[in-house]
């Protein structure tokens, strides 16, 4: 007698549909195999969950397309500052004005880097990510599916194949990150990931718009 494999149970909200958590994990490719099978089987026959997943994909893609230029999460958010910090800030501004610090020098302080997430995608939503020109740029590369190394070599070349940036970086949770303090000029670029022996592992297209 064939004994069927016992699957870890996937949580279904109200007993009918996949929970938002499961949906998000699936959309981000993080749902582990036992639940993955159960989820995909349900997805094949459930229009509601298909629509919810389509919306989830759309939100994720939208945030990745447009969110990068809006904010970097490590910035300290002004609304969370305690009153003491507000007071200290106001005092500091007052002192700065008093000391004659030119507004010009403040205004030209380094800008917050734009963050671009580069990943391999399939399907209708995958297109070349675009970064703003002339602004510090942080590229985050998705290494999912690549052979694991303690360090990777990263290179950015322009459309003519000339190298404009090179670095070695250690991965952090399937991600490789590098910041270009001066950013890039407008144009088409390719971001390449090599193993330590400098064999090309993956290449991502990147567009920088002025």
């Amino acid at each position: 007698m064939v004994r069927r494999k016992e699957y870890a149970k996937l949580e279904f909200a109200d007993g009918c549909h996949a929970t938002d958590d499961a949906l998000e994990q699936y959309a981000m490719g993080r749902l582990p195999e036992p639940q993955l099978a159960e989820f995909e089987e349900h997805l094949l026959v459930c229009e509601s969950c298909q629509d919810r997943l389509a919306l989830e994909d759309s939100i994720r893609q939208g945030v990745r397309d447009k969110g990068a230029a809006l904010q970097q999460p490590h910035d300290v958010a002004w609304w969370r500052l305690p009153r003491l910090a507000w007071a200290a800030g106001l005092v500091a501004v007052g002192l700065a004005v008093f000391a004659g610090i030119e507004w010009h020098s403040v205004r030209h302080s380094p800008a917050t880097p734009a963050v671009i997430l580069l990943q391999t995608t399939r399907g209708t939503e995958g297109t070349t990510p675009a970064a703003p020109a002339g602004r510090p740029l942080t590229v985050v590369l998705d290494l999912t599916g690549l052979q694991q190394f303690s360090e990777y070599k990263l290179e950015i070349v322009d459309a003519a194949g000339h190298s404009v940036f090179q670095a070695s970086r250690a991965p952090q949770v399937d991600k490789l990150q590098a910041t270009l303090s001066r950013g890039l000029a407008a144009g088409a670029y390719f971001v390449r990931v090599y193993n330590p022996a400098r064999e090309l592992l993956r290449e991502y297209a990147l567009v920088v718009r002025g």
Binding site: A37, H42, I59, R60, V63, G67
Partner: protein, 218 residues
Amino acid sequence: MMVNDIADTEDDRPASAQPCWAALVEKIRQNDPDGLEELYRVFSRGVRFYLCRQLGPQDLDDRVHDTFLIVAQAIQRGELREPDRLMGYVRTIVRRQVAAQIEDNVLSRKQQFDLDWGLAVRDTGSNPEQAAIRQENQQLAAKVLKSIAPRDREILIRFYLWEQPAEQICTEMGLTDTQFRLLKSRAKARFGLLGKRKVTRRLVPFDERNWREIPLKR
């Protein structure tokens, strides 16, 4: 009510109305056209959705057709031993289709790379309709992200762009797990309200006319 409950999406459609798999499989084995029709009706949209999401819209109709052909013929040959596992069987076939297509793409790309003369390469760029849809989605995303509260926006960016785990977001933003879920849900609902109709309706329209294309037992 749980904050991540499906009820938050205001989608009160019932879950899949699943037929009796054993009866359905038996009908297909008997080469009953009703069985094939039912198979197509139950799985068509899901198979299209899965293939489109994994491989894109190119040749989608052909791929869906191939999938049903494989499933129907395998059932008729008696290869599905446990009729109750029909959903799992269809999933396996669809995943094989995806894997085979990706393998084919890799092989053809490699062959093209090895050639040193010019050859026709399929244009993988968006067609005008896809480009318009994508632009519309981007405009929608920009509109929503600018319109929501800064804290909600930060949550979405941390979660989707930086892929930070919920625990980290809660710690760094000083939120409880419930607050995090509530804020994330609220921010996503804004997307839902503005874009749900536009985004989901265009994805994979179900077309019942195609079911009769499945060839019967040979």
